[in-house]
Symmetry: D2
């Protein structure tokens, strides 16, 4: 349980549930964790919880889309620690921000581009700034990105977020290829629908409203494709991230890692 002993980890968009679970796992494996978000209160609470559980954590207000803000933050982290070992960016998007789930014929250009800019753009920013500091400090660290299996699905009314997911996976491969010479690992985590999160339950509720279906029916639909009749947990995503950032995790470098417990429709 001490896979990340003495490691320095930075988590972006840590007010979200996935990033929160990842930060908790990083800490439980021994890392010092910097948790950041636009919402400082949320990450302060998270840092306190981690410390209350015996971990080492610091909260900072960082907007994962603000290049200068990310840079200032990471500069301070490496100034204080002399290195940067792990980065995870858990940025996500709600349908609200994307104008709901309009048919692609109705979505505006701005609605379509929004997830590409927010999700893929943020992953680009945090990854590359982290890589620079890892190179500077010869940290040979691990950069973990987040995507969704939409990238390989044929679902309706999700053009922007599907394009963004696919783009993040492509970006992962380029960055892994570029930075491997400096010993930097780049891995992308692709969780299946985490039914316990507010986002997925929000999606399900929104879809239930849109299609006039009972929520239970949609949940059952989601689970009908789950081979183990259970969806992955936040804990499993966090533990997988900690594993990927560990010494053994290097074996997964450059890959898209599905954390879905097996779904009938995802290869």
């Amino acid at each position: 349980m001490q896979n990340l002993k003495d490691k320095v980890a930075a988590v972006f968009a840590a007010s979200g549930e996935i990033a929160g679970a990842v930060a908790r796992s990083f800490s439980q494996h021994g890392a010092k964790v910097y948790v950041t978000a636009r919402n400082l209160d949320a990450v302060k609470t998270l840092a306190q919880e981690i410390k209350a559980n015996g971990g080492s954590a610091e909260a900072a207000k960082v907007d994962a889309l603000d290049e200068a803000g990310i840079d200032n933050f990471l500069r301070k982290v490496v100034a204080d620690n002399g290195k940067l070992d792990v980065v995870f960016n858990g940025i996500g998007a709600n349908y609200d921000e994307m104008g709901g789930r309009p048919p692609t014929t109705e979505a505006t250009f701005a609605q379509f581009m929004a997830p590409l800019e927010k999700l893929c753009g943020s992953q680009f920013l945090t990854s590359r700034i982290a890589a620079r500091y890892m190179m500077q400090t010869r940290s040979e660290g691990t950069i973990l990105l987040l995507t969704a299996a939409l990238s390989r699905s044929k679902l309706s009314n999700v053009a922007g977020i599907t394009a963004a997911s696919a783009a993040i996976e492509g970006l992962t491969r380029v960055m892994a290829a570029e930075w491997g010479g400096d010993g930097i690992k780049v891995i992308c985590i692709c969780p299946g629908a985490l039914l316990e999160t507010r986002r997925i339950s929000g999606w399900i509720n929104a879809a239930a409203q849109q299609y006039g279906m009972p929520v239970e029916q949609l949940v059952a639909q989601y689970k009908s494709l789950d081979i183990l009749k259970t969806s992955p947990t936040l804990k499993q995503v966090g533990e997988t991230a900690a594993f990927l950032a560990s010494e053994t995790g290097v074996a997964f470098n450059s890959h898209i890692v599905d954390v879905d417990c097996g779904k009938l429709n995802i290869l």
Copy 2:
């Protein structure tokens, strides 16, 4: 050779070599072809060539990133013909527009997003506006997009265009899923490096300069992964597009179609 007899086809960014080849093939298979670009002179010349060869063509000035312009143009096409059978958007990007091939640690946010907005954004616009008119006129047509196998590669210094290629492939699947109920086919063409084009020869020249390698060596490098020791031709891409838009081509609906003659490093 009359797979597209009486079909009405619109080609965007037709001043480019790939789109030009596609337009020529569409015409040779019997389609009436509308060739459009920001550069009206270029597509006028193309239309004249097509007509000189016995085809039916019309040129129009359309910016494939201008939503209103695309809409006005396609509205006129369906007003004149009562239908829209085939759409191809050949939009591409030069390294110049993307700030050369900077390392991902150096690329600016704007440089990274540029191909996503231009390539993926344009494919989004032309596809969805075309789909609306196809639905309106019950045309049950075919929408052809363009991508590059970068989406599935691990190459350095091509973060933006790789992300854009992957995004276009994801977008293809969503649109195919959404519009299939209206009989609309959505297929994405993925040509291997077309050594005969100005773009690829430009890339090779740029890379030769950047890495200080002789052009012949880079050409040989490109071809070293070609199973048949030959790269695909513009003619083959055009003929494939015409086939995909034909009655049989429906069998390829929703897929990414590699037109690369087989490469050792592309699955």
Copy 3:
């Protein structure tokens, strides 16, 4: 419609419906077609039909699992024609031959291996013997194999045929890599479930019996994943094969070509 003018094509297992459709398309595109099967009467009837329609065809009794028989047959074809341009092997398997659809815990070793030996083994034999004669005669021909998307699915009670389908796709890539230097193209066709064939209707009937479901419900289930609410036709498979064997088809060398009209669950 004369994509294969003056070409010499050999079709194995041509008593099957897919191979029959392929032979018909080859002929309609101008090829001289040798149709072979263990059941000589069946391919004689096919050859007569092709000739009645103005094509050129010859029937021969060949067991696509008998190495010497295949060799003798192809030796004669190249002796008579000086070349061999196209080969297609349509070998398939019925659940009967595989012991029904037993759960994998119940399937015997022999039942599991049967489709690997029959389907993958036969494709190996006809492809490599054809390749030898293509090399000998510098034919630079096209070898077309047949697989099923089971290779990329997660379906129950189909272990052997799934393993065989995946194996055939791997084999395709090795052979393409090996023989490309001799100008030989190797391409694998992967048709979606062809509801009009006896085999698929047989499968549906068998599954209906096994699970106690009405046939209509199973057909609807099959189609529920078809984006265009229609399954591909034998004609489309035949025309695609003819296209792949044509001058343009070289662009598809080494690939697995899905002919399924788009399915929600197949990437």
Copy 4:
């Protein structure tokens, strides 16, 4: 480091280096490990080493291709322990057994089928017999298979082993789909070339002889595609297997898990 505390694990073909590493990791994570092979002395030595390091191990003579032998062995394991939690089959093949690396045009039918029967056949046997005992004892265990990325490569003169690798991956998906309802996880490990193993160094030596190249050049060729300029280690494969068999590993159910540290030519 106690991910597998109180777990009962059976390892087949444990005289091989990969299976040996997996058995060691299973033990280090707290599992009781049964190590089996045709060569009883080899696994006795392994068991002694594990016990000398404080682990719990038992050696048994089992031929991973002998259905009755596997059945008798696993019956005894569940009789003694009341359950079966983890199975790994490390069966491999040497070029010697496959007749060297003959061109596919020269390989005999038997040479081609050999790896399919041995590798894929053995994985089928151990997996399904294990699944039966897991079902009987409601063990909700994990079955780990072994493949090679040849399945997704285009390499020459490796038809049989490529087909076998692809077949094993297809088989993994079917078994995962079938047994998930019983809580059984099925996951396939795909290590990159492990340069430290006798098998890969043997392959490299054989290839060096065949092509008349210095060994160092071939090693450099192997590594030239390694993003991190290092190939994965046996230890990493073992630790990954232990992780996949752990509580968190369930998240990887049904997937092919690459353990290659990132290769430029493997997606």
